[in-house]
Each structure stands twice: as structure tokens, then as C-alpha cells.
């Protein structure tokens, strides 16, 4: 009995000392953040681990918001060193960072990701506009009298006579996904801007409360929306705030189907249902070009070149953020950043483009690479 309890005590002591060591220092880089940047960051991390004496960084896919939350939680080895994001850091997140002592952050833009609307190769290719997407998928659309009503459309032909006579059925990511945020903003928001009243509303500044309210009445938006935003922000809302609430929401009555975070699943479902459309990242289209085809949006097909030069309208920049206070504390951070920002990684013919990353123009790459090399912190909202 005594021997046994001694053994147990020894194991416990060993475990505790091991943990204490692990907590005191970390010899690998810890990265969190966006699931969109994850496939690119992991490739860099793997090459970095293989070609340098440093350990391979650990990368968690937590989503952009979750990543920034962990990143801004403080300075110290228990907090991540780098976070990936499929959008720029928000003002509120910067304030949270500063509050927790993360005062210097280096922002690195890595390239672009296109969001595609695709269907099976068995069906003809769709030629859509952002306005079509808005009218087909938004929760509220203008009715015959100009007032916003619950989306009545069930068939693509009703949305635009040029489109085929097919039931609207779109598979897309859930609201927790960065892809969904970007789609709401770029495709739906972009389409809503084509409606004159909504465009006017979007342009109104906060001091024109009277005009905003008049337009809201014209569009049939309840005044409670205005009041609730005013209460949340603590000041008078801009027209754009109202616009976001109205335009960035997807209908929930059936034609839009949340298919989960797994883009492979959407591709498989599209293959099985040739009449359906699916929304996912460009890299999945690139890998499955034999099964699905990307619809043209505003006349531009989702291709490598068109996303890189900005003519394809539904694309977004990708970033990662480095905690400067950790440089020198955790080994390998500058080297990892250098690998990511090297031409052989993110260049026009780098290995990241093989994985579907759309590179930035050369001048922009040079600027961000220089900032990353010198670890120039970004300007922060205080």
C-alpha cells in the first residue's frame, strides 16, 4: 500500500514539475485565428519547421473573432503570439488589446481570398450580379411600392428574367464563419447598394437624423431599429448602420441553407443537386474544378487573375497580427514572419498560390514585407 501511494505521489510530482516547466517557457510559436487563413499559415509553418532549427508552430483554427479574443487577452507565454484574421482588426478589439497590455501589434496583410458562388458542372453556368444575389438571398427586399418586405422570391427567374427557371436553393456557411461575414458585406451589401433608396440611406451621416428617419419611413423600416442602434452605440447612428442591419441579413425561410463550416460538404451536395448553388472559398473551387464551376458575378468569372487584379467583386483581404512583446521571448517569430512574407511563399509563383492564395500586387507585398521585417507596429486606436 505504502509503495503504491509513493509511486502515485512520484507520478504526480513529475507531472506537476513538467507542467511548471511548460508554463515557464514555450519553445514553439503559438498561432490562433481564422479558418480561412489556416490552410495557408499551416503550409508556411510546416515549411518553416522543416527548414529551420525551430520547432513547428502550433496553429489553432478558432475563427477570426475567436483568435483576436485570445490574442488580446494579454502578454505572456500562455497567450498566443500570432493571430490570423480574414478581416482587419476592429477598433473594439484594439481597445481590448491595449487594455490587456498588448500595446504593439504588427499587421501583415498576406493576400486575398475570393468567395465564389458555384454550381455543379452538370448544369449550365450561372451569370449573376450582386443585385441578383441580394434580391434572391436577403431577408428584406424592396416590394412593388418601394417598402421593404420579407423576401417573396422563390425562383431565379422572378429575380431576374435572364436567369434560368430554377428554384432558389443556395448552400452556404453559418453566421459564425468569416466567409459568411464577407459574403453578407460584399455580395448582399454590394447588391443592396444598387437599390437607389438604400444607397441614399447608406450615404447619410449621423447628423442628418431627420433625413435618415424619413428614408426609413419610406422604406418601411421600423423606428425601433434606429433606437436600438442608438442605444447600443451610445450616440446617433449613421445611415450606414441602418443599412448594415437591413442589407446584411440573409433570409431564413428556406432557400438559403446553412450547410456547416465544412466546404467539402457543400461541394459534395452540389454534385448531388445540380440545381443548387453553393458559397465557399476560392481554394475549394480550385481543387474541385472537375466537379463544380464558379458563377460569374457582375460579368467576371472567379479566376486567379480576376481576383488578384480586383475585378472580381466578392473578394477580401487576409491578415495576420504579431504580438511585438513576444518577439525575442518566444524563439522563431521573426523567422516565421520572414518565411511567410518571402517571395517564394506569397509571391506570384510562391507555394501559397499553389494552395489557392491570391497574391497582392508586387508593390504592396514589398511594403508589408518591409514592415514585417522591421516589426513596425500598426497605429492603434486608444
Amino acid at each position: 500500500m505504502l509503495k503504491k501511494s509513493l509511486a502515485v505521489a512520484a507520478i504526480a510530482a513529475a507531472a506537476i514539475s513538467g507542467v511548471a516547466q511548460a508554463a515557464a517557457a514555450r519553445d514553439y510559436i503559438s498561432i490562433v485565428g481564422s479558418s480561412t487563413v489556416y490552410p495557408f499559415a499551416t503550409v508556411v509553418a510546416e515549411r518553416f519547421g522543416r527548414s529551420t532549427p525551430f520547432k513547428t508552430p502550433k496553429i489553432e483554427s478558432t475563427g477570426s473573432g475567436g483568435g483576436l479574443k485570445l490574442f488580446c487577452a494579454g502578454v505572456g507565454v500562455q497567450h498566443p503570439d500570432i493571430t490570423n484574421a480574414s478581416r482587419r482588426i476592429k477598433k473594439s478589439e484594439q481597445q481590448r488589446c491595449v487594455k490587456h497590455g498588448v500595446k504593439e501589434i504588427v499587421e501583415v496583410k498576406v493576400g486575398y481570398d475570393g468567395i465564389v458562388v458555384a454550381n455543379s458542372r452538370k448544369a449550365p453556368r450561372f451569370n449573376l450580379t450582386r443585385k441578383d444575389l441580394y434580391l434572391a438571398l436577403a431577408k428584406l427586399v424592396p416590394g412593388p411600392d418601394g417598402k421593404l418586405i420579407d423576401n417573396p422570391y422563390t425562383n431565379w427567374k422572378q429575380v431576374n428574367p435572364a436567369l434560368p427557371d430554377i428554384k432558389i436553393e443556395v448552400l452556404g456557411p453559418p453566421p459564425t464563419s468569416g466567409t459568411r461575414d464577407a459574403f453578407d458585406e460584399l455580395a448582399l451589401g454590394g447588391g443592396a447598394k444598387k437599390i437607389p433608396d438604400l444607397k441614399k440611406l447608406r450615404g447619410l451621416k449621423a447628423d442628418k437624423a431627420g433625413e435618415i428617419k424619413a428614408l426609413m419611413a419610406k422604406l418601411g423600416i421600423p423606428m425601433s431599429v434606429y433606437d436600438s442602434i442608438a442605444k447600443k452605440k451610445g450616440k446617433a447612428p449613421k445611415g450606414k448602420d441602418i443599412f448594415k442591419v437591413v442589407a446584411y441579413s440573409i433570409r431564413e425561410d428556406g432557400p438559403f441553407i446553412e450547410a456547416g463550416e465544412n466546404d467539402n460538404l457543400i461541394v459534395q451536395k452540389l454534385e448531388a443537386t445540380p440545381t443548387a448553388l453553393g458559397i465557399f472559398g476560392f481554394s475549394f473551387l480550385d481543387q474541385n474544378a472537375d466537379k463544380v464551376q464558379g458563377s460569374t458575378i457582375d460579368g467576371v468569372a472567379p479566376e486567379f487573375e480576376s481576383i488578384a487584379d480586383g475585378s472580381y467583386p466578392v473578394s477580401r483581404p487576409l491578415f495576420f497580427y504579431v504580438k511585438k512583446a513576444h518577439v525575442g521571448k518566444v524563439p522563431g517569430i521573426p523567422e516565421y514572419v520572414a518565411e511567410f512574407t518571402s517571395e517564394r511563399a506569397w509571391g506570384d509563383e510562391g507555394y501559397l498560390t499553389d494552395k489557392g492564395l491570391i497574391p497582392m500586387p508586387k508593390a504592396e507585398r514589398a511594403k508589408y514585407a518591409a514592415d514585417a521585417r522591421n516589426m513596425t507596429p500598426m497605429e492603434m486606436f486608444k
Binding site: 502515485v8 483554427s61 463550416e261 466546404d263 467539402n264 472559398g281
Partner: protein
């Protein structure tokens, strides 16, 4: 017509007999149908997984004549390991490919040509030279790992007859591969990488060893904690604890705990073990602690059932010959209950092995290349590896996902079979 009064009881029975037989037949049929549909679903699941995954146990290799050029590895001829580590091994592979296809000109075509061989091949050459520097200056005929796109084409997952624009590999690349095939330089060989390597973003370099090691450490921690705690709790509650309101309450709550969704334990682990105690994220230690919470109720309930099944006569006999209560429990009851406790523990462990939801919260869903060497190194576990691969864009990960599921199922079946064997072998009936 006979009036009801004339009918004897035996007539009534006879009349209903047919109905009763029919009812029994129907019930038997429904039961068989239920069993059959259950087996059919499991069969379909297994067949699809095996059909999708069996090809992952093979990997396409390409035989290349690689010249270990001293100029590219060690220009000064020092043979210093530091210098050898820095050599341009990717360049060796490229040179071998250029020699095989001298007609390929132009930057774009050459890039496509270089992509026939996996980027992992260079680390293998590096390892070979580190092990035996005498290779420098010689030409070796080696089987090098092909890129995942080539692998998919050779295995027939990419249709060669499709129009060029719908394929990942264009006609020129397919032509090169066909030339290599006709020379017998392309072969499908057993995929050892899959069992020895950690995760990778290149499907042909990815393996499950890292996740398997992570699962091992996690389960080790779980076992070391949950078995003693579970058995001690069960023994105390069953043999020593007084029956009163408090023990009733504890009993009810143990049953409640068994029904708590596993993600809740993950949140608890995040709040307590990581945020409060400051244990490292993504470590099997924390994973094991969380899974301990999850498996404890299973083990306690199974252990109590095992203790209950030991007949009271054993206890009375032990006490009757003068054993103390403690001696009675530890010398007589516990050994007899042990097989049942072990069965419960193995089933609890199998449950823990297949769990991924609580590990999401504590950072074990991560890309980790290095194989963990201990319970505090960052790692993932098998179900998480399956989840990560299922979410990867590369086509070749589809079969890897199914193969990893097969490995996980094999482990689960072994554990469950072990539980059955233990029960059969050591079970005592009274």
C-alpha cells in the same frame, strides 16, 4: 350457428390461437427487421468508409535516378553535418526530373514538372545524406514520393478523359506521367508515411502518428486519474457509505453527470484547468483531465454494478471468519468485482478515445506537425485529426480522412473486444 352459451372454453382458445400465432410471427418479423436494418446501416457505413479509404494505404512513388551532386550539397567538401543540413536537396530532385525530361523548356512548364515529386522528397534525401555522407558523388535509383495530384491521377480519382480545363493536371503533365508509367517508373507502394509521420498540409506527407501519440497520452492521463478515483468512489459508496439523503443525492448526481453533454466538460476544462490553474493549452494533460470528468460517471456506475453483483454470502463469510470490513472489501469483494470494473473502464476509455467536442474548447483542434513526446507537448487526438482532414481543400485528404476513421475504428473495436474477452474470461456466476 351455435349460441355463445354452447361454446366451450377450448373453442374460444382455438379461435384465438391463430391470431396469437400471427401476432407472434409479426413480432418476430419486426424484430428481425430491426436487427437487419441496424446491421445494414453499420454495413453501409463500413463499406463506404473502406471503399473511400483503402486507397490511402497505398502511395504512388516515382523511381528517379538521383545524382548526389557534391556542388549542391557540400561545395567545400567539409562533410560537416551543419553544412550537409543546409544542402539544396530540392535542387537534386529538380535536376533528376530535368534529366528525365530534357525537352521541357520554359518557366511555367518546369514548375509543373517539378511538382510531379512531393516537396517532402527533399527531406528524405537530406536524411539519407546525413546518415551516410558517402552517398555524395554517387547516383542512386530511388523511389520518391509523388505529389498528391499525381497520386490521385494514378489511383484513378481524377478522370483522365475529362476535358483539360476541368482537371487539376493538364494534358502535358498527364503525358509525362504516362511516359513514366510506360517505363515502369510509377508504382503504388505501401504507405508507411501514413503510420509514421505527423500531420502535414501536403496529403502525401501526412500521417496519423502525431494524433495517435496524442490520443495515447490523453488516454493515459484519463486512465491514471479516472480508474483509481472511479473505483475508490464506487467502493466507498457501495460498501462503506451510510444510506441517507446525502448519499442518495450524490447517487442521483452521478447519474446526472453521465448525461451531461461532453462540450460542457470542455468549457469547464477551459475555465478551470487553463484559465484558473494556468495549465498549457492544447496539451494531452488537460485533455486527459477533461475526459476524466467525462468518463468518471461511466466507471463509477459500472463499478458499483460490479460490486452489487458480488453475493452477500461472500461478505458474510469473510466477516464470519474474523476479517475486518476493510479486509473483507479489499481481499474478497474487490477481486471478484474487478473484471466488471475493468470492462466498465475500457468502455469508458473507448468513449473518451472517440470524443472530440470537449477538446475543441481546450485548443486541441490545432495543426501540429511534431509528434508529441509527453503529456504537456501540444498535440491533437485521432477524432480531431479526422475532423481537420475532412475540412481540408486538397482532394487527396478525402481518402486520408476515411483511412484515419478506419484506424480509429480499429482501435475502438480492439478495446471493445478486449472488454468482452475480459468479461467472458473472468466473469463468475453465482
Amino acid at each position: 350457428m351455435t349460441s355463445p352459451a354452447d361454446r366451450k372454453p377450448i373453442d374460444v382458445v382455438r379461435a384465438s390461437l391463430k391470431k396469437r400465432y400471427a401476432r407472434e410471427r409479426r413480432f418476430r418479423f419486426l424484430g428481425q427487421l430491426a436487427v437487419f436494418s441496424g446491421v445494414a446501416f453499420v454495413g453501409i457505413l463500413f463499406i463506404t468508409i473502406i471503399l473511400n479509404g483503402y486507397t490511402a494505404f497505398e502511395q504512388t512513388d516515382i523511381r528517379m535516378d538521383v545524382y548526389f551532386d557534391e556542388q549542391m550539397i557540400d561545395p567545400q567538401g567539409t562533410r560537416d553535418p551543419q553544412v550537409l543540413l543546409q544542402g539544396d536537396y530540392a535542387g537534386l530532385v529538380k535536376a533528376a526530373l530535368r534529366k528525365e525530361f530534357p525537352e521541357v523548356r520554359g518557366r511555367r512548364d518546369k514548375r509543373k514538372l517539378y511538382r510531379l515529386i512531393s516537396s517532402g522528397a527533399s527531406s528524405r534525401l537530406q536524411q539519407m545524406v546525413m546518415d551516410d555522407p558517402g552517398l555524395i558523388g554517387t547516383t542512386q535509383s530511388l523511389w520518391l514520393v509523388a505529389d498528391d495530384d499525381v497520386d490521385m491521377l494514378v489511383k484513378g480519382h481524377i478522370d483522365r478523359t475529362l476535358p483539360e480545363s476541368e482537371r487539376r493536371l493538364n494534358d502535358k503533365v498527364v503525358g509525362w506521367i504516362e511516359k513514366l508509367e510506360s517505363e515502369g517508373r510509377v508504382e503504388k507502394r505501401f504507405n508507411t508515411t501514413f503510420f509514421t509521420a505527423g500531420d502535414s498540409r501536403e496529403p502525401e506527407m501526412a500521417g496519423i502518428a502525431g494524433a495517435a501519440a496524442g490520443s495515447f497520452y490523453t488516454l493515459l492521463v484519463t486512465l491514471l486519474l479516472s480508474f483509481p478515483i472511479g473505483v475508490a468512489a464506487a467502493v466507498y459508496l457501495e460498501e462503506f457509505a451510510p444510506t441517507n439523503r446525502l448519499t442518495d443525492l450524490i447517487e442521483v448526481n452521478i447519474n446526472n453527470l453521465a448525461a451531461v453533454p461532453s462540450i460542457v466538460f470542455g468549457l469547464l476544462g477551459l475555465a478551470v484547468f487553463i484559465n484558473f490553474f494556468g495549465l498549457p493549452r492544447s496539451a494531452p494533460l488537460v485533455g486527459g483531465l477533461v475526459l476524466t470528468l467525462m468518463t468518471l460517471p461511466t466507471i463509477i456506475i459500472a463499478s458499483r454494478a460490479a460490486l452489487k453483483s458480488v453475493p452477500p454470502s461472500i461478505r458474510e463469510a469473510a466477516l464470519g471468519v474474523g476479517a475486518s470490513k476493510m479486509q473483507m472489501v479489499f481481499h474478497h469483494v474487490l477481486p471478484l468485482a474487478m473484471p466488471g470494473m475493468l470492462t466498465g473502464t475500457i468502455i469508458g476509455m473507448a468513449q473518451a478515445l472517440g470524443e472530440s467536442a470537449p477538446l475543441l474548447m481546450i485548443g486541441m483542434v490545432a495543426f501540429i506537425v511534431d509528434i508529441p513526446g509527453g503529456p504537456t507537448d501540444p498535440s491533437t487526438v485521432l477524432p480531431v485529426q479526422i475532423y481537420l482532414w475532412a475540412d481540408s481543400p486538397e482532394r487527396a485528404f478525402v481518402e486520408k480522412t476515411s483511412a484515419a476513421i478506419m484506424v480509429l475504428l480499429a482501435f475502438l473495436m480492439t478495446m471493445n473486444a478486449l472488454a468482452v474477452v475480459l468479461r467472458k474470461k473472468f466473469e463468475r456466476r453465482w
